[in-house]
Symmetry: C2
Subunit: 240 residues, 2 copies
DNA sequence: CGGCGCATTGAGGGCGGTCAATTGGTGTGG
DNA sequence: CCACACCAATTGACCGCCCTCAATGCGCCG
């Protein structure tokens, strides 16, 4: 059940048998969500942390006028609200984009982890630091890339992240997000997201059908996007 | 020397005598920087973490074409690259904006902290989580607020952060950042930053002279900015 | 079949960008 | 003490990326 999470953590830290057992014992509570269903609400104080076991979710903040900004996308294997373990009150919400299976782990277990397993703790801290690095790269996209580059950049990022957890074959992955959600993630209107996706299609950089994204030539797309995988803590070759 | 850092951490966690002693013993290495001088370079692998003892600094990423995005501002009392403790390679650089005095602490000491002082470790983790929460709010600003609101929002955020560490009196603080830096933080051009600052001045929302910012009516400015201090982990009244 | 959500397309407009020139403060060398 | 360089702040003119409003197509489901 936790294979994907552990695979992700092992990019940073060799998870020992003891640590693996600790994680697997939980106690986990598995909950399923429908598309668009809220997983965590803004302002909540949490007692459990969430890991995505299957599916795709996003974190978001809403403004007074009802506008929304998506601040992160999360895929299977991601801890999607480890911040809730540290922050007393959630500054953002989490919602499912497409059906999701979520594993919930009591904060109490994480406290035990901190007392007993400093190296595993560090791996979890690393995970939140990686999250923050992704936040920073998104800021670069929003501030200094045009819509075309920005969308290309996200598609590159997701390709790598899906590859890590073994959920991409032949440079293809499943992306349940709607164009509305993509717009809210980029700070763009739906209309413009649509136009840019079509441009990327016409340019032969992506193939997009149903919820599937295929990137025929990742190196080319990365070039267009100005994508440098360093922020994802990748060394050397990024694509297979 | 570490009073401001400890004051900040105590917003979250009561720092015990032992923890305080541990932090103060260091070993610290104090370094001074001139305005615009780099403190940490992009791509570095670090062996020390930096705390700002005095001054103002920013984190940034640069793009191929030389464009720059500032991803965070840091004031006295901030750990400005705790991420470098976790990430093997820095995804961003850090530079001084105005003269800075920096305390550098070996990562070795932080490792010891993780082994011996889980509660202090958690306070440091909290600090990085707060940092990430600020990143998210900046994303909201860049994606969903116009330039006027965005600048007002940052000025509100800095007011609170300066107040926490006791560096603001009468709603006034010292902001060494140039309009160029502000533009790079917002994803705006210098020209437009200038126009918006003048508009805020004309509206009587801010008084800006030299490097000093005064906010005559914080409640009013927060209203204009759509500022909700929850993301800074504030409960109740935000202003004094 | 009608309703609904999402994708798509067109027309027109505004926020903020680019380019360029001017001002003013500061530091430096003659 | 002044000339000059340099950097940040300021102002104006023009332009384009992306937004808003609106309509249409399309697949899915009750």
């Amino acid at each position: 059940m936790l294979d994907l999470l552990i695979r992700k953590l092992e990019r940073y830290h060799r998870v020992s048998a003891e640590e693996r057992q600790f994680l697997e014992e939980g106690p986990w509570r598995v909950v399923e969500y429908q598309s668009h269903e809220p997983i965590v609400r803004e302002g909540d104080s949490l007692t459990e942390a969430c890991v995505i076991l299957e599916g795709f979710a996003y974190r978001f903040k809403t403004l007074r006028q009802g506008a929304r900004q998506i601040t992160a996308f999360h895929i299977a294997g991601d801890f999607c609200d480890l911040h809730g373990f540290l922050l007393e009150q959630m500054d953002h919400g989490i919602a499912a984009s497409g059906p999701c299976k979520i594993g919930r782990l009591p904060h109490k277990t994480l406290h035990e982890c901190m007392e007993r397993l400093p190296r595993l703790t560090r791996a979890l801290w690393w995970d939140t630091a990686l999250d923050a690095a992704i936040h920073r790269e998104w800021m670069v996209s929003m501030g200094r890339r045009d819509a075309h580059e920005q969308i290309a950049h996200l598609l590159c990022e997701l390709l790598l992240r899906f590859q890590w957890v073994g959920l991409s074959e032949n440079n293809t992955y499943v992306l349940p997000a709607t164009q509305i959600e993509l717009g809210d993630a980029f700070g763009l209107s739906t209309v413009h997201v649509n136009r840019m996706l079509q441009r990327l299609r016409k340019e032969g950089l992506i193939i997009l059908t149903g919820g599937r994204v295929t990137i025929p030539d990742p190196v080319q797309l990365m070039k267009v996007a100005g994508f440098d995988p360093t922020y994802l803590q990748v060394r050397g070759r990024a694509t297979r």
